[in-house]
Each structure stands twice: as C-alpha cells, then as structure tokens.
C-alpha cells in the first residue's frame, strides 16, 4: 500500500494509470515520491542563532529511453500536476521507443532503525544541550574566543512507483552534530572543527556526555594549529592517518569509477577494467550496507537494494559504480549506486561508503621510513577533475616528518595529486582501518548526498604540498 497516496487527492489507482501510460514505451523510469522533514539548530556567538524546521513534499517523474532522460518534478501531488508532467515527459521523448524492464529485486534488508531524529527529543532539550556544549567548550581554556555548535536532524521517507505497479519504499533517519572552536593567542587565530553523525538517534552521540569528546577534539585541533608553522611547497612523501583522510580515495579514484563518466568515456579510468590501477595490497570497496552509517541505504533512489561493491581488488580495477541507466547502456547491472539529493534532482551513480581495506603495515613503520615528508591527520574538503584525473584536498591538521619522527604542526595546505598515479604510489597500507566520524557530504553536478569514507594509515611516495615555504 502506498503511504504517500493514502490521504492524497491523487489516488494510487490514478497515479498507477498515469505512470503505466507514460512509461509503457520507455526503457525505464518511475514516479519518486519524497516527504522530508528536517531541523537545524545553530548555536553561535553565545546565542541560539537559528532554530529552523523544514518540511518538503514532492515528486519527481522520470522517463528514460536509450540514453535520454526526461524528468519533471513538482511540489503539487495531484492528478493535474502529474498529468502535466506526463505530457512533458512524453513530448521530450517523442519518437523514441524502448522496452520497459520491470525487474527490481525486492529486499527486506535494513541497515538503520525506523527512528525520527527530529521528533525523538524536544526542541528545548536540544537547545539546553547546545548551551551546555557552549559553556563546556568555553571553559576549556581562556584562549577559546568563539564556539559554534549545531544539530542537523532529518527524516526522509521515499516511495518509488514503477510501471506495472511495483512499489518500493525506504525511511531514512540522518543526524549530524558539529562543533567549531576558534582560539586566539598572541594575536593569532585558529579554528578546529569536529563532528559526528549517522543514520541513528542523537542519543548515541550525546549519552554519557559523549559530546564533550567532540568539543575536546575541536579544541585540540584548534590549539595544535596555534603552534603551526608555514607548510613546505613541493613534492614529498605523505603519511595519511586512518579514517577521514580517506577522502583521498573518494577524490582520487572514487568519482572516476562512477558509471556515467565511464560510459561517456570522460573518466581516465574508462578503459582500465582488469588493469592495474593501484599498488598491490590496495583493495577499495563501496559499501551501502554498513549499519547506521551516513552513506548506507537499504535501497538506492531507484529502488535497487544496495550492496558491497568491490571497485579495486589488490590493485586491479574490477567494477564501476552503476545506476540503472548507465548499467543498461554498459551491459551490466546496477550496483545500487543510483542516488539523488531529492525529488528535485535526477538520479546519478554516486558513492555510498567508500573504503580502503586493511593491509599489514603499522603507522609507526610508515613514519619511521620517511626522512622528509608530512603526516596528514585531518582534512577539510576535496575536489577532483575527472577528465585530467587531478585532485586536491585541504589539510586541517598536519605535521612535518623529519628523519622518521613527527615534528611541528604545519599550517593548513592543499595537497594535489593525480588520481590514476597516486594509488600506484602507495608504498604501505596500514592495519588500522577506521571509518570517518560521519560528516561527509559529496557534491556532484550541484547535488549533495551524504557519504562515508574509511581507510587505514597510508604511505604515499609523493604528492605536491601547497605550502608557502620553498
């Protein structure tokens, strides 16, 4: 039974009739319905700066034939509006004929509980905790001059109606909690940011005053940066810490392995399946099935059950990440990577939780082996140029390595590398794989979706550091 169309002026029967009529001569497509509510509470400069509650209800109607996608979305879930969309799709695909493939496997897999993070706690109690967080963080040291803390909670319910009447649905909770601390000493200002999150209750992050650890970490990073010296410029060895630095993997190879860029042959990886693209010992997966993780999904936004997809196995390129359209055109099957930011957006192949698996080395060995290099522990964002393969990411906590020992902290700097070659330059893979704390959002073609990353410590032979010291 459709939950969305139960109390709507658009009945299930009517919707089914329009969907069937529109998609009968198409290769693929669906009516995607979404109901999202979210809440953002921000404490800034000692005040509750904003308390915002938002609801968004709408549909996206998609028809696909060959390699052409027609899409129409609206907030108005009504007979009239859907018929308008149908007309629009039909005229866009005029003269094209396809064969509808109705087959999507049903699944009972569940990687998160059906909780509602927006409603499970009162607004008052969340405001109280934010005030406690502010007081605690400011009490850590007299150098703390600014504290920003926020809660972002969301519950997204989706329903997918395919031609033939198949109905698929998912209910997705998501929370994120961030603290940013600015410290000032001797006229110098630095910030530290830390956050946690996932598809579960706020309680997991807040019980036993767990939030103190988040404040402590933000404060530690800020304080470390107060003593940082200018970063060097140029090529050198890099040791990456475990966990969040895996945005290297996300940027260096992740995007380049998304099906659309490879079907269109604009990715440097498009003709490298079965070839060696990384050092031996490097295995990378994209996994949508990890419990409570930010990048996990029971089904993707086309209804395909998610899975654990092996991308690179022991250095050899195995698979791309696929949605239904690109899989069909490349004669393979969807890997459950078809995602969209919301009903306002078309589906594209997107990452879920992208992870490099453990190797045999220790972080200690890596650092010992480096005469001159940098040890990068935490990062801000990253970006990649899929076609040239060049990617960057911004260090927010890094140290110099001199003669096998960790030295002074270094000022934030951008690291730049070349995707296809950087993974061939991995010299050691650590045995300390960690997942990120659950704060990642990936942007592609203007759409943001929650993702996760993970990796063990890594030693990379050379990357270029964007510092100011030559």
């Amino acid at each position: 039974m459709s939950k969305f169309l139960k109390n709507s002026e658009l009945t299930f029967e009517k919707a089914k009739q329009i969907v069937d009529d529109t998609l009968q001569s198409c290769d693929d497509g669906e009516l995607y319905l979404e109901d999202t509510k979210s809440e953002t509470i921000i404490l800034d400069d000692n005040k509750i700066k904003s308390s915002d509650y938002s609801t968004d209800l709408g549909y996206g109607f998609r028809a696909v034939t060959g390699d052409v996608v027609a899409y129409s979305h609206s907030n108005e879930i009504s007979d009239k509006s859907l018929k308008n969309s149908s007309q629009n799709l039909k005229s866009s695909l005029k003269g094209k004929r396809g064969t509808y493939n109705t087959e999507i496997k049903n699944t009972n897999q569940k990687f998160y509980n059906d909780i509602d993070p927006v409603e499970e706690k009162s607004l008052k109690s969340k405001i109280d905790i934010l005030n406690d967080i502010n007081n605690y963080a400011r009490s850590l040291d007299s150098s703390v001059k600014q504290v920003t803390a926020n809660f972002l909670g969301e519950k997204k319910n989706i329903e997918i109606l395919r031609s033939g009447g198949q109905l698929l649905n998912d209910e997705r909770p998501l929370v994120r909690f961030n603290v940013s601390v600015m410290v000032e000493k001797n006229g110098r200002k630095e910030t530290g940011v830390y956050g946690v999150g996932g598809r579960q209750s706020y309680d997991v992050y807040l019980k036993n005053q767990n939030w103190k650890k988040v404040c402590d970490e933000a404060f530690r990073i800020a304080t470390t940066n107060l003593d940082s010296k200018p970063s060097p410029a140029g090529e050198m060895k890099v040791v990456l810490g475990p966990g969040w630095p895996a945005i290297l993997i996300h940027e260096a190879v992740g995007h380049g392995l998304e099906g659309d860029f490879n079907r269109k042959k604009t990715s440097v990886f498009h003709d490298l399946v079965g070839k060696k693209v990384a050092s031996e010992g490097v295995t990378i997966i994209d996994d949508g099935t990890l419990d409570n993780r930010r990048g996990s999904l029971n089904i993707d936004d086309e209804g395909t059950p998610t899975e654990k997809t092996v991308l690179i196995e022991n250095g050899i390129l195995k698979n791309f990440m696929q949605d239904r359209l690109n899989a069909r055109l490349m004669n393979t099957k969807s890997t459950g990577n078809g995602r969209r930011e919301s009903y306002k957006h078309i589906v594209m192949p997107r990452m879920r939780n992208t992870i490099m698996l453990n190797g045999n080395n220790t972080q200690e060995e890596m650092i010992k082996s480096v005469d001159k290099g940098i040890f990068a522990v935490s990062f801000g964002g990253g970006q990649v140029d899929i076609t040239s393969g060049k990617f960057v990411f911004n260090c927010t906590e890094a140290y110099e390595i001199i003669n096998g020992k960790i030295g002074s902290p270094l000022k934030g700097a951008t690291l730049i590398g070349d995707g296809p070659s950087s993974l061939k330059e991995v010299l050691m893979v650590g045995n300390d794989m960690m997942l990120d704390p659950g704060i990642g959002t990936c942007g592609k073609a203007g759409q943001g979706v929650p993702v996760g990353v993970g990796q063990p410590s890594l030693l990379i032979d050379k990357m270029t550091i964007g510092g100011t010291q030559i």
Binding site: D44, I48, S50, S51, D52, Y53, S54, T55, D56, L57, V68, V69, A70, Y71, S72, S74, N75, E76, N88, S91, S92, L123, K124, I127, K145, Q146, M182, R188, K189, E190, T191, A233, G234, E235, K265, G380, G381, G382, Q383, I386, T387, S388, K390, F391, V392, F393, N394, K411, G412, A413, T414, I416, G417, D418, T464, G466, G467, T468, Q469, I470
Partner: protein, 446 residues
C-alpha cells in the same frame, strides 16, 4: 523566432494571499512580529552530449519560509507543502519553537524606515520563452562549433536552461513586495585529446535576457580553445612566481574578500579583516564597488531578504577598506545600520584597471598564467590561501607550455597589496573582476 509566453510562474496575487495567511495566522497564535517569504520558480533545462539530446528537466518549486518573533525570541520554518491545513500546522509549530528558543537582544524585524519603496525598472525579467527544441538547437550549435576542431573528441555535457522566478516578501510591519526575475544560462564543456593527454574545459554564459547571451558559436569555440590549450601539460619546479590570474579566477578573490567583511564575521571576529576599517588593505590603485541597481545585472536586486533597500557601497577606495556588508541582526551587534546586504553582495566588482592584459603578461621574463583552480583553499580567519591550479607558462610574453598539478599559496594580507588590475573588466557574472597580476606567489610543483 522565440515566442513570448511565460513559463507559468505564479502571479503576485497568489503569493500575496499565502503570505497574508501566514502573517494573520502567526498573529492569531501569539507572535509579536513575523516575516514571510513565498517564492515560486519554474525552470526548464536541456542537456546534450555529443550533439545529441541527453536529457530534459522541468522543475517547479513553490515554497515558503516563515520567521516568527515573540519579543526577542525567534524561530523559523520552511515548507513546500502549502495546503492551508499544513500551513496552519506549520505556523503552530513555528510559534511553539519560538516560545522555547532563548531570547536574543539583537532579534527583531528590520527598521521600517529602511524598507524599499519606489520604482522597479531594472529590467530583471525577460518574458522570452524558448521551447525545448530551440534550447536544444542553441546548445547543439555550440557543441558543433567545438567539435569542428579535430582535437575535441568528447563532451562532458552541455546544457541550456531557462528559469523564471517570482516571490513575495512580507512582514508584520507592513512591508509586502516582490518581483519577477529570469535567468538564461548556456554551458558547454568539451574534452580534448592528444598524445595520450585528456583535458576538459568549458565556456559559460548566464544573463537575465536571452538576447544578451554569448552566441552559441562563440561558446563552442571558447570552450574548445581552452580545452586544447591545456593539452600535454608539464609540472614545474616549486618556486616563487608573478602570476596573472584569468578573470574567472580573479573574481574568486573578490568573493573571499566579501565573506571576510560580512557583518556576521566582523561581529564574531572570525575574519582576518576585523579591525581593518579605514585601513589600507589593497594597493592604492584598487577600488571595490557593490552596486545593486545595474540594469539587467545578474546580481541586481531592489531589496535584500529583509526588504531593505540596497545602498551602493564603495567598499574599498584607493586601497582603503571603507565599509562592511551589513544586515539588521549583525548590524545591531556592531552598532551599524543595515546597508541591505542580508542576502550578501549584489553586483560586486573591482573598478577597471589601467594596464592592458598583454602588458601584464609581458611584465616579467617568466609569468605564470592561471585560468583554473581546484579546491576551496581560502581560510578567511587567517587569510591563508592554498589551492590546486593549472594554466600556462608565459615566457617573454609568449605562450610557452601548459602547466598542471601545481599548488599556489599565500596570505591575503600580502596578496591583496600586490594586485595590479588589467583594464579588461566585463560584467558577465554577479561578481566581476578584470584579469590581475599578483607578484611573488609561492608555487608548489616538483
């Protein structure tokens, strides 16, 4: 020819009615003040790839944002579900949230005297409507032109979009106004290939009026030239360089500058430009203006998101910082009246320089020309700047070879003082800069 007809956006009456319902309901439920934004935008977009249609999208967005005040307490809701029954539920929820949110002495509606009043004659709405076929033909012509060069082997997709919007902003102090805007955008991104090297680049044009767009052939040939110029790049040795930044990069420095003088950052002290008012922060030759009333301007607006009229600001005069970007809330914190910048800058630009671009790239024996950066490497708290980059090495004024996989880094405090502007300012975006030379920047390479 394109015919005149609208994309069926909602008219003022419909939006005003929704705004009225929200304000009335808020008052009924106990708000002392309220403000509401109701907006509708409809856009149609076509994507093509290798000169064939790849997709089409139509989007229709209708939504509202309501902020209610009870004394100095404030909360907001937004929604796209605008059935009257749901609006009632939402207003109640907003009032409930307002009640439990702590007081903030700086919360309030803006000063009535600053509300916008007057004529709306900036030509921000072009009724021209192109059907999908015309959109496809336009952008296809751009790709055709790009593909006429044999080194262009693929596209990353090209697109044409038309957006029409309307909105009403209202508050319980009697402000109720809005206006329609339009935007036409064409984008073409092509892939070049030669000797195993593959590069991409793009050209982009976005205007309020369809007739003002770059012509398709120009878009295609610009995109192709840029992508081909990048082929077979070299990585250079780390060193200090005098860098000439292409316009599409130099405007980013203006955006970084704008974030650094927002009243929010100034009030919190989270910017390297705190305490720099009336002090020299750029070279004497630099003037920066933010002007809201440019006819057909991409960044033009009549009033900001609080309904406040837009004052023309001379932010930097002869290198000296003269003003901040101020909204009501943060203005109160720093004892300044809003200058209508709660939505940020409008048409922000460096006043044109005096030196021809050709002279800038001949200003040294070796000049690095940067026309692409990657990554968000600006830290406005410290002024530190570090990004990935690619471009061209210019030797004795002649193009020597393309350069990639390098980093450029510095600190805005020094970089801003070492800027020389070219005289090639054009108004293509909301934020516009001429090309610029910045001397002595550290480049990370081999």
């Amino acid at each position: 020819m394109e015919h005149k007809s609208s994309l069926m956006i909602k008219e003022d009456g419909y939006l005003k009615n929704l705004a009225d319902i929200c304000l009335t309901k808020s008052k009924e439920l106990g708000s002392s003040d309220a403000s509401v934004l109701v907006m509708n935008s409809v856009s149609e977009n076509v994507n093509i790839r290798n000169r064939k249609i790849d997709g089409s999208e139509r989007s229709d967005n209708l939504g509202l944002t309501l902020t209610t005040y009870i004394g100095k307490k404030k909360a907001s809701i937004s929604s796209s579900n605008l059935k009257e029954k749901n609006i009632n539920t939402l207003v109640k929820r907003c009032i409930d949230a307002t009640k439990v949110t702590p007081e903030d002495e700086f919360n309030s509606l803006p000063d009535k005297d600053l509300h916008f009043k007057g004529a709306k004659d900036l030509k921000l709405f072009d009724e021209t409507h192109l059907d999908n076929e015309k959109k496809i033909n336009f952008i296809k012509a751009a790709e055709e032109k790009a593909f006429s060069n044999e080194k262009i082997v693929n596209t990353n997709g090209s697109a044409f979009s038309e957006t029409k919007s309307n909105f009403i902003l209202a508050n319980s102090n009697g402000f109720m106004d809005g206006y329609k805007t339009s935007q036409f955008t064409a984008y073409c991104e092509v892939v070049s290939k030669s000797n195993g090297s593959m590069e991409r680049d793009y050209e982009y044009t976005s205007k309020r009026y369809y007739d003002d767009l770059l012509k398709p052939e120009q878009i295609g040939s610009n995109a192709a030239k840029k992508a081909i110029d990048k082929l077979n790049p070299k990585k250079i040795k780390s060193d200090k360089f005098d860098i000439v930044f292409d316009k599409r990069i130099s405007k980013n420095f203006l955006s970084n500058f704008a974030s650094s003088i927002s009243s929010s950052a100034i009030a919190k002290g989270t910017t390297f430009l705190k305490d720099k008012l009336n002090k020299k922060i750029f070279d004497n030759s630099i003037n920066i203006i933010d002007k809201g009333n440019i006819i057909k301007g991409n960044g033009s607006r009549y009033f900001d998101s609080e309904g406040i009229r837009i004052k023309e600001l001379e932010l930097v005069k002869d290198g000296t910082l003269m003003d901040y970007l101020i909204d009501t809330y943060n203005g109160r914190k720093i004892n300044r009246q809003s200058n209508g910048r709660s939505s940020g800058t409008t048409n922000l630009y460096f006043e044109n320089g005096k030196v021809p671009f050709e002279d800038l790239i001949k200003s040294g024996k070796k000049i690095l020309f940067i026309n692409e950066t990657i990554g968000r490497g600006a830290n406005i708290i410290t002024g530190d700047y570090s990004v990935g980059a690619s471009g061209m090495m210019i030797e004795n004024g002649e193009l020597a070879y393309p350069v990639s996989e390098i980093t450029i880094a510095g600190n805005f405090n020094e970089m801003f003082k070492n800027i020389t502007l070219a005289n090639d300012l054009e108004f293509n975006y909301s934020t516009n800069s001429p090309s610029m030379l910045i001397t002595g920047i550290t480049v990370g390479g081999k």
